[in-house]
Subunit: 384 residues, 2 copies
């Protein structure tokens, strides 16, 4: 197996895009390729993620993006794994490059939702749950994650300020991230006074609807030779599934798919959690960040809230989590999220995360969840 | 690179399914796995294709299918490449298995359309074209393929009976295929009297709307050791793109993506067209079968029509084409089509194609096109 590197990664500002998804994807893809020192003609395969492309009446978008890049003959396909789509696409890119099937692959995730009203957008999101048992009976993601939060709170009682501290920390980070949708800090008072969406989750516990696009270039070490950026060596690219329907899981304290994907990833990398310098994790709701820290093996079950409150996960803490602002505050353009986590790690490794630098950037982990954990991807990166 | 084999392949009867896409996919997947001699627990990765899942309000369907198979922890993702989705998924399965990333992978393509009215279904199909230049201006696939047929007819004039002979041959084959939607022969008179849809394409030149599901199990030679079926050795798995927008192509005589994918595939297999015993090609419209034969390198440009009329492509001809009945008569449940082509080849290799056997089954080729050729997959199979 060959060593696969991330040598370019770019994102637009999340929030609201004036252009179509296809146009935004082509733009960030070009930026990532330019940054990598490669040219479009070096790309051997394109993996696109675009869950809600049909709301723009555009399927089969890969060949259109490749056409815009001037490489129409390059094969492409679209990869969907709900909110973990572009990390699933990154896994395919890793497999193609590490396995020697192509020398360089492009991953681009894009989503445009701002042309939909909130009810329509919420319905589309809900289609990533189990229609027969969940969606058809009225379940939406805020409700499903509130169920998870309630189960956790029952086992490990916590004050409202615990989840609030996650939101405040991620907003503080996003305020320093030019790609972020919400570039403003919030106070505990603002958090506590925000409306309840699905108890115990308040408005500021929930990630927003976002447009956005992010792209990543993966290439073989031998192909790159003299990288013009500081590459991220992909030490592990692991995915797992789990029982989708929450009612069928043995317990609701965390997400089983994260646990199995993390085990695979640490085994593949030959590393332990204590060797990871910082994390980008899937905080679609604040409770999900607590789950991630515990399921990934960084903290024992029931202790992540305290670590958040004590500042362990702050940008300058012992274990910085979501220096980008996370899904919560950077935004969550579904299919772009997994790729955008890599953009943050790339910028941290390359000294491009001005004003939000984390103390150590030798290693990092990205964690991306599909729906309520039916799918999970974990990637571990290190410097050369 | 390891040798990858298709060791199981199953399909339901195309047409109209009473159950949901998810249920049908799980059922055919179980059948393909059972047939392969493996058990669900042997599957290391699942690739699902389901372009129109959102019309059933079900995205992220892979983990649900895996749950139904009793392997919820197995990673999955959904692969879209318009009408070539499940052959793109087969390519991912090939890469994972041949590259040593997993020992056995499942490909399952499924589509349910029968709950949609014809206008809605036509609109969804059209979203695989270029929205900005084609769909928005009213283009639908019958119109786009009629444009291609007109360009071809201008260069190589042909009587209506030429396209008719493709339809008649494929209906004759489908009449002997228990998986086929249309299990009846048609006469030239029926063909010529069928209504014009988009000149020169008549009703019987067009594939139908179809529900359907098909599944394929791919495994490494070393992992299988003692196959219980006659495996298809994957000699080549190649994909290509091309300029999507028809107005930007240098000519409309054939599909450039087929030409580049075929070149790659024959190079990868170290074979020539004359070494292929029979073909399953993408005949979404009868004109597309002529294109396939010429673009794949089996016949010189402008001569495929004559070969069809002369019976060269008949089941007992020199080069049997679409013994399954093809998209035209077996049906075209978009995301299931690529996998179902492999089902036909598997059944021919294993003596399961009762009453529609082709004379020689040492080698075969499957050709699957996305939209008007923005994507193309070519797979070449041989016996051990």
């Amino acid at each position: 197996m060959r060593e696969a590197w991330v040598i370019g990664a770019a994102s637009n500002r999340f929030g609201k895009m004036p252009e179509t998804g296809r146009e935004a994807a082509t733009r960030v893809a070009l930026e990532a390729i330019r940054q990598s020192g490669l040219e479009p003609k070096d790309i051997g395969y394109t993996f696109v993620s675009n869950c809600f492309g049909l709301t723009e009446k555009q399927g089969h978008v890969g060949p259109l993006i490749n056409g815009g890049l001037g490489i129409p003959e390059v094969p492409s396909c679209t990869i969907e794994s709900a909110c973990s789509s572009s990390s699933a696409a990154l896994h395919e890119a890793f497999v193609h490059v590490a396995g020697g099937f192509t020398d360089a692959a492009l991953v681009v995730g894009v989503e445009k939702l701002s042309h939909l009203d909130t009810l329509t957008a919420t319905s589309y999101f809900a289609e990533a749950a189990d229609y027969a048992f969940e969606t058809k009976n009225g379940a939406t993601f805020p409700g499903l994650y509130a169920t998870l939060a309630n189960a956790y709170q029952k086992a490990y009682p916590m004050a409202p300020e615990v989840l609030g501290s996650v939101a405040i920390k991620n907003h503080a980070n996003a305020a320093r991230n030019p790609h972020a949708q919400f570039q403003k800090e919030i106070s505990m008072d603002t958090y506590l006074r925000s409306p309840m969406i699905a108890s115990p989750l308040r408005l500021y516990d929930c990630c927003p609807f976002s447009d956005g696009a992010a792209a990543v270039v993966v290439a073989a070490k031998e192909f790159v030779r003299h990288p013009v950026t500081e590459p991220l060596v992909i030490r592990a690219s692991a995915r797992s599934g789990s029982i989708t329907e929450m009612q069928d899981r043995p317990d609701l304290l965390g997400l089983p798919a994260t646990r199995t994907a993390a085990e695979k990833a640490f085994r593949q990398a030959g590393m332990e959690p204590k060797e990871i310098d910082f994390l980008e994790v899937h905080d679609c709701f604040t409770i999900a960040e607590l789950f991630a820290l515990e399921d990934l093996g960084f903290l024992p079950r029931g202790t992540a809230g305290r670590a958040e409150v004590e500042g362990v996960t702050a940008r300058d803490g012992k274990l910085p989590v979501n220096p980008s602002g996370g899904l919560k505050a950077k935004g969550h353009p579904v299919s772009a999220t997994g790729a955008s986590q890599v953009v943050e790690i790339f910028e941290q490794f390359n000294g491009l995360a001005k004003g939000r630098e984390v103390p150590r950037t030798e290693t990092a982990l990205a964690h991306n969840v599909g729906a309520t954990g039916g799918s999970c991807s974990v990637h571990i990166f290190s410097r050369r």
